[in-house]
Structures are given as C-alpha cells and as structure tokens.
Amino acid sequence: MTTSLKKLVTAVSASVALMGAGHAAADIQIGIAGPMTGPVAQYGDMQFSGARMAIEQINANGGVMGEKLVAVEYDDVCDPKQAVTVANRLVNDGVRYVIGHLCSSSTQPASDIYEDEGILMVTPASTSPEITERGYELIFRTIGLDSMQGPVAGNYIASQSPKRVAVIHDKQQYGEGIATAVRDTLKDKGIEIAMFEGVTAGDKDFSSLVTKLKQADVDYVYFGGYHPELGLILRQARQANLDAKFMGPEGVGNKDINTIAGEAAEGLLVTLPPSFDEKAENQSLVQAFEAKGEDPSGPFVLTSYAAVQLVADGIEAAESTDPFDVAAALRSGSFETPIGTVQYDKAGDMKSFEFVVYEWHSDGSKTPVN
C-alpha cells in the first residue's frame, strides 16, 4: 500500500514537472497581477483587459522570438498582504515577467520579492514615487509619478485663485503621497491650506468631515485616494449643501464614482493620463477593443497594453529572455507604444509622462479643462 502510494506520488510529481518544463520551453509566461475582486476591482478590469489584448495581438503577429506569450493571472485584491502571497506564487510558478501590481501599496511589497527573485515587473498604474526610489534594477512603470501628478493638480487649483483649500487623503501610500504633493505645491504658491487630514479607507460616514469642511469655509477640496470614499464624500457634501469644488487623482476617475455619488459627481476635477484612446494612431487598437465589447477609455487599459508590449519589445531587443538583459535593453532603447514613445531613466521611470486635468460629468463622461 505504502509503496504503491509512493509510486503514485512520484509518477504524479514527475508528470507535473514534465508538464512544467514543456510549458516553459514553448512559451513565455506573462504574469498579470492586480485586483480582480475587492473595492477597486474596476481598475483591475482595465489592467487585465489591456494586457490580454496586447498578448493576443502579439501572438497573432507571430509572438516574441518565435515563442507565444501566455497570460497567467493573479488576484491581489489590492491588499498588500495578498500581494506578497501573489508574488510568492508567481515565483513558484516560474513566471519571469509581471504586469502589475495596480495599487502602489501592493506594488511596493511585491516588488521587493520580484527584485530578489530576478523577475521583471512593469506596473501600469502605481504612481507612488517610492517604488522606483530604491535603486532596483527590474522595476519599471508605464505611468507617471505622484510627484508629477500632484503638481499638475496643485497648479490647477492655484490658477483658480481659491481663498482656502482643504486637502484630504485616505492614509494609504498612494492617497497620502499624492495629497502631500498637492499640499506642498499649493504651499509654494502661497495658497492657504485650511486643513490636511486623513480619513479611514472603507469608512462610510463622512458627515462630520463635511461639517468641518463647511465651517472651514473652503472653496476647493483635494482628495487623495480612491472613488469609494470620494464618491460618498461628494454625495454627503451635496446633502449638507457644501459649496466647494472637489478634485482628485486618477484613482477616482472611473464610472463607478457615478453610481455612488450620482448627480454629485458633476463638475468633479480629475487629473488623468491623457486619453490615449482618442489619439489618431490608436484607432485600429480602439476598434479591436470595441470588437471584443471592451472599453479602452479607462486610464489603465492602454498603459497595461504598453507594459506587455514593452516586455515583448525588450525581449526582442535583448535577444534574450533573461529579465536582467531585458531590463538593460529597456533602459537603453526607445519604444513606440500606444502611450507614446517610451524611454526609461535609470530608476525605471518614463522620461516623460503627462497628466491632464479633466472635468468629470454625472453621466460618467469627461471633458478636458484648460
């Protein structure tokens, strides 16, 4: 009995090992790690949709160095603890390229593991500057930094010459980081900051905060964080007749804010990456998304597409599938992607990335301001 069990176990593990080996020889696995579930899953949808499309199209064009790309998908729920588990699973699965993670607070701990294990990571959405500040070799992004986005928002608010501004954040790495950047920009411009304080992510009652904003008599409120909280703040502020203009980063700019805030979302200002889907050269790509019934207009769809494409182009430029060679190729080359020409600096940040101020409408559409 024991021996037959042993035999069975050996047979199974041998065949698993064989399958794994066969898999690795024929294909290049691309891990996609982001929130499939949880409060910010809609951003995950953008990420997965963009990355899948890129893999599909690259494979249709003959793959990379004759090999096919295979997507391996992981759900990190945008939770830092879960992100570490996902990163370890990726290592065990033998994946060597990751598109992700999405939330900065997930990307930060996961990137430690990727760097240690020699896995190349391109995040299509994490904007926290700290991620690329540590001198890591294998960490890249296809999005700008809070230190670029914050000043865009701060300068816009300052140009409207407000009396007093309140800056609120959700105490998370992304939200607080960008809120701090906005506050510093405003301070440099000599604008009075009436308050700078945090709320708890996941909280639902903001009536006290709204009352406080009313008393502080602010005419602009900047919120660093995601849409579930800002949606409720907008709605509760409208209930309480707070007359102030709200502004937020790209983390609030998606249609779900409309289902929460309803009419109150009208006139919200959002800094977003420019609408890459409106560029003339991307129209055939946009049609490909629409043919699949997917929406390419979300801020992270084409950044995720570009992330996959950069990995593929990097492998071809390096003529090697070793992540370190690919990283070196990415730093030295210049690549044409749907988000424009990408060149990397030493840290792994794009040399130029632009954020644009949009006005959000209650039907979920947006129009550029300025």
Binding site: G198, D217, P228
Partner: protein, 307 residues
C-alpha cells in the same frame, strides 16, 4: 455663536449614526443576555439587510412604482424578512448544535459564520461598492451665522424617528407581551425557565429573529444615509455596535441604546474637533477603558455567579 452651531451640527451627526448603532447593538445585547454568547455574524446580518433592501428598491423602481412611502415600506419588510430568516437559520445551523459546550466553541462558530456570509455576498453580489439611490433628499436649514449654516436632513429625521419607533415597540414587547416575559425569564435562568414549561429553543430563536429584524432596519436606513454599500461594511459596523453594547452594559437593552448614542457622538466629536483619523481609535479606546474600569458597562448589572 458659530462654535455653538458647529457643535450642535456635530451632535446631530453623531446622534444619527449613534441611533443606528443602537439598533444593531440590540441584536448583540439580547443574544448575550439570553445565551451568553457573542454573535459575531450579526454585522453580516445587517449587511444582508442592506443588500436585500437595495435589491427590493431597485426591483420596485424597475416595476414602475413611484410612490416613495410604499417603496420604503416594502423594501423594509423584505429586508426584515430576509434578515430574520437568516438570523434564525444562523442560530439553527451554527449555534444550536454547539450550545452548552465550552464558551469558545460557539464564538469560533460565530466568526466562521461571519466569514462565510461575507464571502457569500461577495460571490452573489460582487465585491464592488454599489450606490444606494438617494430616496429621501433635502432637509431643513436654519441657524446660519456667517458662512456656516446648520442643516438637519429629512434622512436624519427619518433615522431618529424610525429608531425611536423600533425601540419603543421593542420595550413594550419585552415588558408587556407573553413572549417578552418568557424572554426575560430565560435570560434570568435558562434551566429554570425550561423546567417551568417555557419552550426555551423557541425563545432563543425569537431573540435572533428580533435582533436580525432590527439590524435590517438599520441596514436600510444607513444604506440610504451613507449612499453606498459593500460586502465588507457589516464587519466594522458590527464591531462598533458590539462596542456600543459593551459600553452600555451587555445584556441590557436600554444600555445598548445609550451605548450606541454615546459612541456615535464620541465619533463625530472626534472627527469634528480632532481628526477623522482618530475616530476608530477613540471608539475602540473607549471599549478598552470600559472593559478595564467598568466591565459591566454603564447600565449593566454585575453578574451574580449562579450556583
């Protein structure tokens, strides 16, 4: 003058949330009073009540019903019905089989039930925040000074009034009705009550059903007041209501009401005068202080060890 208005506004905000906490806290306190266990799945019952109400509202609006009071009453009844059956089922499935065992066993069973229900709603309803339609809008504005104006929304009034009605009905039920008297008897001595011919299983089920129905009322009210719900929002609300129940004296119904109101006001004053960041610190700090210095709570009676 403005300071006074500001204070009163924060007081209104706090009392609104506090009365909803009190509604949820009743479920904790009644169950504890009768079988001495903490029903950690109660927050999830509240969350399910909110989801049911939202589904009912959406369905009724889709059917073309436009008369608001009818929509609200039907949604409330649906939510109470579903939550009560859930409360009853949870007791039957997870607590009755382990009743009378070591205290830890029902507690673990309750935590398991809570995780199960959370994940069930995750799967069934999706994990996104869903917006709750603003059915009761507008309110009174008064007492303006400078740029600050106080406001009392119709929604806040609805929450106060509904809570008041529920609490009065509950007190009358407990003090006057036959089942209420049986409830009190069972909470004093379960074994003796059953010797005297009270069907204790039925009374315990009734307790769960009443607690769940009140939590459903809170679910509908707070869903509308906040504006969005998600599968995880019952957890923290449950913890807050539990704190309220302990604060007022667990096992005591007036205690739960008082505890809820104190907690709500403490939270809104902390956000109002300190910072929203410290809101949870203050509410759970309060819980620790009460447990340290007055474990029986504000209105709880010291437990006499029965021999």
């Amino acid at each position: 003058m403005q300071d006074l208005l500001y204070f009163s506004q924060q007081l209104i905000n706090g009392l609104t949330i506090g009365s909803a906490y009190a509604l949820i806290a009743i479920g904790y306190t009644m169950v504890y009073g009768i079988i001495g266990m903490i029903n950690f799945a109660h927050g999830e019952i509240y969350m399910i009540g909110a989801y049911t109400a939202l589904i009912a509202i959406t369905g009724l609006t889709a059917l073309g019903l436009a008369w608001l009071p009818l929509i609200l009453v039907v949604a409330l009844l649906c939510a109470m019905l579903v939550s009560s059956s859930m409360g009853w089922a949870v007791e039957r499935v997870a607590y009755r089989p382990v009743r009378g065992r070591h205290r830890l066993i029902p507690l673990i069973s309750a935590i398991g039930m809570s995780i199960f229900l959370q994940n069930y709603v995750h799967l069934a309803q999706g994990s996104r925040n869903v917006g709750f339609p603003a059915l009761i809008e507008g309110g009174f504005n008064f007492g303006s000074d400078g740029n600050f104006q106080m406001s009392l929304s119709y929604m806040q009034i609805t929450i106060f009034v509904t809570t008041l009605i529920c609490m009065t009905a509950l007190s009358l039920f407990i003090s006057r009705s036959r089942t209420g008297r049986a409830c009190r008897a069972v909470s004093q001595d379960l074994g003796m009550a059953s010797l005297l011919g009270i069907d204790t299983n039925r009374i315990i089920s009734a307790t769960f059903i009443i607690g769940a129905a009140l939590a459903a009322v809170a679910g509908l009210l707070l869903g509308m007041y906040y504006g969005s719900i998600d599968p995880l929002f019952g957890f923290i609300a449950g913890l807050k209501a539990f704190t309220a129940a302990v604060l007022g004296g667990i096992g005591s119904i007036p205690g739960a009401m008082l505890g809820g109101l104190i907690l709500g006001v403490a939270e809104s004053m902390t956000s109002g005068y300190l910072s929203g960041e410290y809101k949870d610190v203050v509410s759970f700090g309060l819980l620790i202080l009460i447990l340290l210095f007055k474990p029986t709570g504000l209105l709880g009676k010291p437990e006499v060890e029965k021999i």
